[in-house]
């Protein structure tokens, strides 16, 4: 076993651009490689759109758990992507996106070795640098009851899946993006017994106090968390992005 010399790594970590320079600047360049970033949002806030766009900006593996997969939208975005990047004349960006469906958490764990051998193999044209799981919450929705034993089983699955994803991210120097849903926030967040995760006591979306789904155990499994929210708009578009995790800032885009 040898220690890694930190100076052999790039001094500024490789980042995956989000496509918007303002957002990239907030995140210090984009989503970092070799770590898991979680996108948390209420439904129809734009998580899947974000993920589709991210998938196009790199050779990526897209694992979807909600059906159907928006193939037409991907195609549409791909055309737009191609026209805005002049160097991609002969290539279709959507040919570098590999899509697969996952139905439950145990299957997710089972396909990890297959994912690893796929990325290692000659099949992808370019090295796969992004793995997207959209969404992780859907994987755990059906099979777990609210009993302590089931919740314990669920927690151990969190750590197993997250551990494998992190080792994949580390081995192939790729970014992993996971999307999550929100649940309503109940209870206190203050004091030593309050479960406040991240810098903001509670997050707000469409006038409700919300917090990310899957609880405290899953929160320990991700490296960064990005919260997307949507406010009721009166005139014009107003979307706010709140960043929780490694870099903490709040940005309002008018």
């Amino acid at each position: 076993m040898t220690s890694e010399n930190l100076l052999t790594r790039p001094l500024i970590a490789e980042k995956l651009t989000l496509g918007c320079p303002l957002l990239d600047r907030c995140l210090g360049g984009g989503l970092p490689c070799c770590s898991i970033t979680e996108l948390v949002a209420e439904s129809s806030c734009g998580k899947t759109q974000f993920c589709l766009q991210l998938a196009l900006s790199a050779s990526s593996l897209y694992l979807h758990t909600e059906f159907p997969f928006p193939f037409r939208r991907l195609h549409q975005l791909s055309q737009a992507f191609r026209s805005s990047h002049a160097n991609l004349v002969a290539i279709n960006p959507w040919e570098d996106v590999y899509v697969d469906a996952v139905h439950n958490a145990h299957q997710m764990l089972d396909i990890m070795p297959k994912i690893e051998s796929f990325i290692e193999s000659e099949k992808p044209r370019l090295p796969v640098r992004l793995i997207v799981i959209d969404s992780i919450a859907a994987l755990f929705r059906t099979e777990f009851n609210n009993t302590p034993l089931d919740l314990k089983r669920r927690s151990s699955l969190f750590f197993k899946i997250s551990g494998k994803l992190k080792s994949l991210a580390n081995r192939f120097r790729s970014a992993v993006v996971v999307t999550n849903q929100v649940v309503d926030f109940m209870g206190a967040s203050d004091g030593a017994n309050g479960v406040k995760v991240g810098n903001f006591g509670s997050l707000h979306s469409l006038g409700r106090r919300v917090c990310p789904a899957l609880g405290l155990a899953w929160a320990n499994c991700v490296n960064s968390r990005v919260f997307l929210s949507r406010n009721e708009m009166v005139v014009g578009e107003r979307v706010s992005f709140t960043f929780v995790g490694q870099s903490i800032k709040e940005v309002f885009l008018a």
Binding site: S3, A13, S155, G163, K166, D190, G194, Q246
Partner: protein, 346 residues
Amino acid sequence: MEVGRLPISASLRGKLISAGYTTFASLSSLSHSDLARDLKIPESEALEILKAASLNCGLDKPDKSNVIVNGAQTAWEMLHEEQSFPRITTSSSDLDNILGGGINCKEVTEIGGLPGIGKTQMGIQLAVNVQIPVDLGGLGGKAVYVDTEGSFMVERALQIAKASIVEMSNYTELLKKKNRVCQVDIQPTDILDNIFYFRICTYTEQIALINYLDKFILEHKDVKIVIVDSVTFHFRQDFEDLALRTRLLGGMALKLMNLAKKYNLAVVIFNQATTKYVEGSFQLSLALGDSWSHCCTNRVILHWNGDERNAYLDKSPSLRSASASFSVTSEGIRNSASNHKRIKLM
């Protein structure tokens, strides 16, 4: 026979052996009057024998002590030793105060908290602060950083290192005004160079690494802190046999404690927070269970107090429980900026 090595006359040696003293250990904690009585020789000769014996086996102990048995120390000597070793600052003076000056060497400190509270930030800050040169009151050592979660970012470490160098140069300016000269010529990349970084992905790798650290530190004697961030992650996967998990964790804790004592370095381990069902309600506690909570010397719990980050010293052999607030800034861990934490004395 050990006493055969002593530079004394043959007749004295013969008397020693016939009285039953064949090893140096048997001569330890013996006063010269007792020896003189046993061997029926004058006290001065007995004194000489004891001196020769202590010289022979005290050769690798630069600080002279009257005890020949290796490893035994008086509490007085231990106090002196402890006081002479500087502690590793956390860069927040409030936090240092409740820790009695900072993180102590020869001890295992466990720091735990919710995700996003600043554990990794604390780890990076300590890995940088251990390198503060001795002239400026630091340890001038290197750091071993064991990353199990992948949360260490080089650019953040670089950012903290740069801020630390600025603080060090400010301090040297201050010392210059008081006519004390010391040079600080460190570059941020030098600081990164002195952090030995290990990334591990499974619990077996984690155990193997901690076993290997003994050999590693033998080759790199200037390592003064070992940071494990976090020790919990790989152990929260399903262990069908919980007893096995407890044994593995106990073994790991023991090895870390031995590392700390043997090489006189600080060991800081980070833990995650979880909820425990206690007395009918869910309370926050640190992961890995009750048996793990006995394994560390000190425990610090990081938690939120409104919008402020607080550190609570939960377990310590010599300090009382206290709480202090701190903040995470672009320069690293610093004192919190709020004013109402200060109590005004009338």
